[in-house]
Structures are given as structure tokens and as C-alpha cells.
Amino acid sequence: MPQTLSTREANLFRTVIRHYEDKQYKRGLKAAEQILKKNPRHGDTMSMKALIMNSQGKTEEAFALAKEALTVDMKSHICWHVYGILYRQHKNFDEAIKAYKFALKLEPESQQIQRDLAVLQVQIRDYQGYVQSRFAMLKAKPHLRQNWTALAIAYQLEGSLEQAENILTTYEKSMTNVPLKTDQEHSEALLYKNTIIAERGDIKRALEHLESDCKNCLDRLAVMEMRARYLGQLNRKEEAAKAWRALLDRNPEHPEYYKGLIEALGIDEKDEAALKAIYDEYAAKYPRSDAAKRLPLNFLTGDSFKAAAKSYLTNMLDRGVPSVFANLKHLYSEVAKKEAILALAEEYLKEHKGSEQANGDSSKGVGAALYFLAQHYNYHLSRDLAKAMEYVEQAIELDPKNVDFHMTKARIFKHQGDTAKASETMDRARSLDTKDRYINSKAAKYQLRNNENEKALETMGLFTRAETVGGPLADLTDMQCMWFLTEDGEAWQRRGNTGLALKRFTTIHNIFDIWQEDQFDFHSFSLRKGQIRAYVDMIRWEDSIREHPFYFRAALDAVKLYLDMFEKQQASANGTNGTGEATNGEDAAEKKKAAKKARKEAQKAEREAAEKAAKQDPNKATAKKDEEPKKKDDDPNGLKLAATTDPLGDAMKFLTNILQFSPKNIEGQIAGFDVYIRRKKYLLALRCLNAAQALDPEHPRVKEQFAELQKAVESLDDAQSAKVKEVLKAKFSS
């Protein structure tokens, strides 16, 4: 039953809402209390109070109160809506959707609930639900263009391209005024429709639409690119060539444009001279273009390669461009090119030897050539570390203060396996240019490779924001510095600090959660901004965000670490049964000690946090800032993570993402097998093994794992094992 309030309290209730929206939580609570004093069982007020408490970080009380509110007023859409919001904030999206749907049933006209539901549906990729919601929203407010566009997006994401296009067309037809040519939303909507037409496969119509409807679109570059691509696809070569040329005039550094032009001109890909002529044309037209000069090195062979490489290399070395090696090393997969480049660099050095003094800047000319050769011999396809060191030493002699030279010297030490010297040398490079964060980052990385975590953090601290509470690590975590967290975790792992290693890998996992969550606001923001193509790109990228190497590396590290922990636990468990007592006994004792320490530290941290909170002056601006948003970490050192009794279970959090998002990565499949076989999930282990075998049948671990699995199921005769045995047998006989 909807509960009614007196006028005074109804007004008070509105102020509760306003205070909540303005984030004036204390005032909001005060007003809520006032209402509850007179009407202690007023469900809506209880819900609002719960919502405010939740914002203050009192999650459990908030949930309890919201539930209680529902029991006193089951028929209130506010109670259900709040319940949904609580779930949504704690990322239980399924429950949140359920609650929103209840709320909507009670209050079908509420735009707000409908919108909250819709956003959640697209966030969890419930596209069918999203189509329904957007349809309802369109029906409620058909005069808003956003609502039409949004429904089209919903249809497109759901895979109904025809409907998507129809919706956009229907709206266009309903327009009474011709939009201004500067209307961003209109311009983007037209281009968006064009991408849908193309996605439907009808390139001819897409081109026609582009040339008629989109000719005035504000994103001219996009129009030009789409047109060139369509013309190419439609084999309208002459026009395509012209279109690609226009693009090259805008940006002669984009390889796709050259490729398009060459295709349009119908040049045979083996006709080196004709290809070269195109690039030469642009190199002459745009003398500063790097692409026009460098791309021909990819296809040229023999003497024409040598001539082109010589002119490229000479120019770069004369100018002292430090990236010239990075720009050429991909050619090293061809032996002839590798050798030719080496010969050219040596020749250059010989010719210029002795002219060092003349030119003044030692990073150019001879210095550049020495530097190039050092990198050449340091590269894995042409490695001779002794020679590399020789050249870099000569370069340093020429210019003792050159950061790049020292950086390369550190890399050579790294490849020699001497992490200590590598770290020391990189730090020397850093000291030569203390204002450059790049070299600072490299110094920290090399310190981590040498297991100097503390020192590395200090180095990083030279560039992190001093005012961040929690110091450099907190800043790096806030700023999502993935490489540091990964390298730091790996170093801790090497040092045997399981807790901190797991902590870092978990932090990376959590940052990916944040990145996924980051989409949330854009579901409505992008509709208002009207940049629909960019939004759809973003959605598609977010769909597979955890395939990113940043995620994979940390996740694989974590899985391997959990496997290690499991093995150690097994060993110590066996130990109590009589084998190798000495070490295992120690292990068990140590574990006990570690657990005790974890408890103590957690208590201490809690105490300290409480004290700190108590000391904070609520009126001080600085204190206020971090009070709410920053949740305190109850396991800063990962001791709780390390104290797990079920490492394989914990590994699953990472492993499922690895297998779902990076199935083509053999390392992931191999780790998957290792986890599943230990969990006695033989069918799943078999699935990983099959996948790994398909990726690389010669991989040594694949063969070992076959034997392992066979042995594991040999003596078992349950249904699962029988199935596995059958498959294995079939594999062997084939």
C-alpha cells in the first residue's frame, strides 16, 4: 500500500531526495530521521535512508534497511528502485535488473526507472531487453531524436541491421525542418546510418547514400575515407585512385592510403619499380614524410633495396634520429636485408670516422652509426652482445652524457642476464636527464627486473604526485599504471612474497573491472553528444577488453602462482604423512605464522584507520576530499590473498577470463590444463589440451600433458574419465 505523508513530511521527503542528489548526506539523513520519528514504518523514507547510508559506505546496514523497507511497503516503486540501485552499485547486475523491473511494473510511466533499466541492460549486453526498453522510451518521447538513434543502436547491437536502418530513416522522414549544416547530431546520425548500410553489405547503396546524404557532413575525413574504401570495394578504380590521393594529401603518413591507391591503380604487387614510383612521387611532394621513404623498404629486393636503404639510413644517421633502428628492425626477418643493412651501417661508419669533431652534435653522424650498430648486435635476430657492447662503449666515449647510449648499454647487460648491472646502468642513464619521465620509468623497470622493488618505487616516486594519500604506489594504482603493477608483482613473486605478488595481479584484475564499469556513463552521455560511431566502436572494444595483453600477462602470472601455492600445500600435506617432514613441517609452521601475522596486521591497519578517521577535522577541505570515495584497503599486503586454502579455486577468477578472451594464446591453454587436472576436471583439462594442440602440436608441454592426462584417468572408471579415455585413445590411434 502506498503510504501517505502529511504535507509537511511530504515536503521533507522531497528535501531528503534533494540532499541525496546534492550529496549532502548528513542533512539528508537528518531530514529522513525527522520523517521516521513520526512515521517509523514509512517505506520510501527508509529506502532513501538506506540509499544515503550506502553512499556513506555503510553497505550492509543499507541493504538490511532497504530490505526492511520492502517488507513494509512491497508496492512502492521507490523501494524497489532503491533496492535495484543498491545492487547495481555493488555490481550485482542481474538482481538490479530484477528489482528495476518490479519497480517499473509498479510505475510503468517512470522515465527514470526505465532509463536506469535500459542502461543496465546495455551494460550487461542484454540486447533484447535493451531493444524493448528503448522501444518503450521512444514511445514515451518520440519527439526526441536521441530516442530514435538509441533504438537504432539497440537494434544494431542486437544484430538487426535492417530495423536499425529503418528506424533512422523513419525519423529522417518525420523531420519537418532541414537541420543546420553545423548540426553535429544530425551530421553524425547520417554517417552512422551510412555505416549500417555498409555493414549490411550493400556497398553500392552505401556509396550512393554517402554521396547524396552525407556530402555536407562535418567529419570530412570520415566521409573521404569511407568514400575511398567503397569505391575501391566497388572496383571503380579511377575514382578510387583520386579519392586515395586526396587522402594522401591530407596525411602522407598513413600506410592504408598508399595501399588503397596502389590497389586502385592496379599495380602488380611484384612490380617493384612501379610501386616505388608511387612512393617516390609522395616522397618528392612531401619531403618530410617518413612513410613514403620507409615503406618501399618492405617490398624492394636486391640492389634497389640496397639503394633505398642506403639513402634512408644515411639521411637518418646524418640527422641523428634515435629511432632509426626501431624503424628498420622488422626487415631483419629477411636475412638478405639484415645483412645489407649491417653492411650499410658499417660502410657509413667507415666513411664518417674522423669527422666527429667537425659536426659538433655527437648523437649525429658517427655517434648515430655506432649507436645503430650497438642496437643491431643487441637485437635478437642479429645478436652478438660482445660486439654490441664494444659499439656502445665507443658511442659513450664520444658522448658520455648521451641518455640513449646508456639506455642501450643497460639493455645489453639485460640480455647478458646481468640484471644488477643493467639496473645500475639504466639508473645512470636516468641521472643524465632527471626531468624526463621516460628514462625514469625505464630505470624503475630495470630495478624491478633486478628485484629491487623498494628502490623502484622510490624512483617512480620522483614523478608521482606528491599530494596523493598513500604515496607513489597509491598514485600509480589510481592512475592505472599497468606496467608498473605487473613488473612489481612479478618481482615480488621472484622474491617469494606471494602476498604482494597476488595483490598486484589482483589490482590489475580490478582495474579491468573499473575499465568495464567506465562505459556506464557513456550509454547516455554519447546519445547526448551524438558521436554514435565512436560509441559503437567503444562498445565493441569493451566486449573483449580482457583479451588485452595487459590483462593476460598479469592473469597468467596469477594462475601460475596459484598453481605453485597448490603444489606447496600438497607437498606439505603429504609431508605430515611421513615424506620429507623437515621442510614440510617448516612450511606448515611458517604458514601458521603467516596467517597469524596476517590477522595481526589486518587488526593493526583497522585500528590505525579508525584513529586516522577520528583525528580528521570534518571541516577541513583537505580532509574532506579523501574521506568518502577512497575505500580503505583491508589487505594492503595481500596477506589474506596468500592465506587462501583453495588456491586453485582462487585461480579460476583469472583463468576463466584467460580462456574466454584469449583462447588462441597457447600459454593460457597450458595453464588451464594444469589447473583443471589438479581440480580433477578431466573433460575441461582435455578441452584445454585440444585447444593447445590445435595451436601448436609440437609444443613440448602439449606432449607432456597428454601423458599426464592419460595417467590421471587410467585407473578411473567413472563416466567422465571413460569419455576422456575414449577421446585420448582416438587421438592416439589417428
Binding site: R115, L218, E547
Partner: protein, 254 residues
Amino acid sequence: MDIRVLRPSDIPLIQHANIENLPENYFLKYYLYHALSWPQLSYVAVDVSRPAKSAYDYPKIVGYVLAKMEEEPTDGVQHGHITSLSVMRTHRRLGIAEKLMRQSQALLISLGRDETEQAMVETFGAHYVSLHVRVSNAAAIHLYRDTLGFKTEKTEAKYYADGEDAYCMKLDLAPIREALLAEQLDGKDGDKKKQIEEGKGTEGVDEGEAVGDVGRDPEADSKKEDKTVKVKVGRGLGVGGEEEEEEEEEEEER
């Protein structure tokens, strides 16, 4: 090197390049905010010569320019702003920063450009582009002032978190705008464009070393990007607004 417009999937590695190179850093969401508000303005330089390391390789970003339109310009004049620009040390002296800037500038104008009615040009397109640079960053200042034609507007004391001052620089886009318009009118694509491409750039000029930090917005000073990412969602009934939770400052204690 491939110089092209930014894609959302580039963002983790743009963020990586930023935090590797510069002291002014941002959450991923701030990059998304740029990419989804003005997708045409930001550019990346990609190392195309690097062989793929796995089936899930992402193009290695060696330089980027992150640009935006000022949403509420204090002077009332539509203009662009360079939020951040950097090039990896390993790829310096290739002229990448300049190339990135030139692409972005051309787009800043054309984003709001009307093809025929010149009056409209004035109502939407960017009239100038602004940026901040550390007073000690000689290489970057050289690029902006000498190569690209920026003028120093004023010095902002203690703009950076570490206490360093910033030059606030501006580039008037009118000449470029006129050239683009002229090109439009006589339909000759190449010549004018070339003039724009090369007009101010002296042959062979490099940004030299350490082209670095065009840092945070001043208002982001204490709160990082929070203020700008604020995503307003008009709310009727009270039980909303949770999305802004992270973005807004808490005021209850005032």
C-alpha cells in the same frame, strides 16, 4: 610510423605512453571522454614495424595528441585545447609531434566548418587552439612557437603539481581556416593543403628531444580529471544520480 585518428581500442596503450612519458596522468575514463566527445580530434602515432607478439596484439602507440573542444570557453570563443601530447623517447626526432599536431589542428577547424555559408564558420569552428607547457621544456616550446606558430599568451604561476609555471600558448587558426576555405572554393585539393602542411614548418625541423608535457587543465588541478568527466544526467525523481558519485566532490561537510 602510421599516423592516424585515435580509436577506443588504442586507449590502454595511449594511457601507457602517457604515464611512461609525462607526470600529468589520467584515468582511462578521461581518455574515453575525449574519444567519445571529439573522436576526430585526437591522433596517434603507431609503430607499424613492430612484429605482432600474439593473436591479441594491439598496435604499439609511440606518440599521441589528445585534444578537445573547450566546452564552456571562458572567453566565449569556440576553441580547441590540447590536453596532452607526447612521443616516446625511442621515437623522437622523427617529427611525430608536429605531424600529430597538424592533423589535429586541421580537424579542429573542419569539425565545425560549414561548407558554403561563411557566417556559420564563425558560429561553430574553432577559432584558436590553446595549450599549456612547462616553462623549462625548451624542446616543446620550440615546437609550438617556432614550428607551429603558437604565441605565448601568459604565464600561469605554479600550474603544475610540482610547482613549475606553465606558459599558456595560443595558435590563431584563422589563416589555416581561410586557406581551407579557399581550397574549398576553387576545389583544388592539393595546393592549398600543401601550403598548410608546409606553410610554417621549416624543412627538416625536428622537435628535438623531450617533447613533453602539455598538461592538465587548470581546473583539473586538485581533482584530476573529475570535473571534466562529469556526466550530467537529468534526473526527475530523487533516487538517481548514482552515476556521478565518483565524479563529484562531496559537499556535506561544508
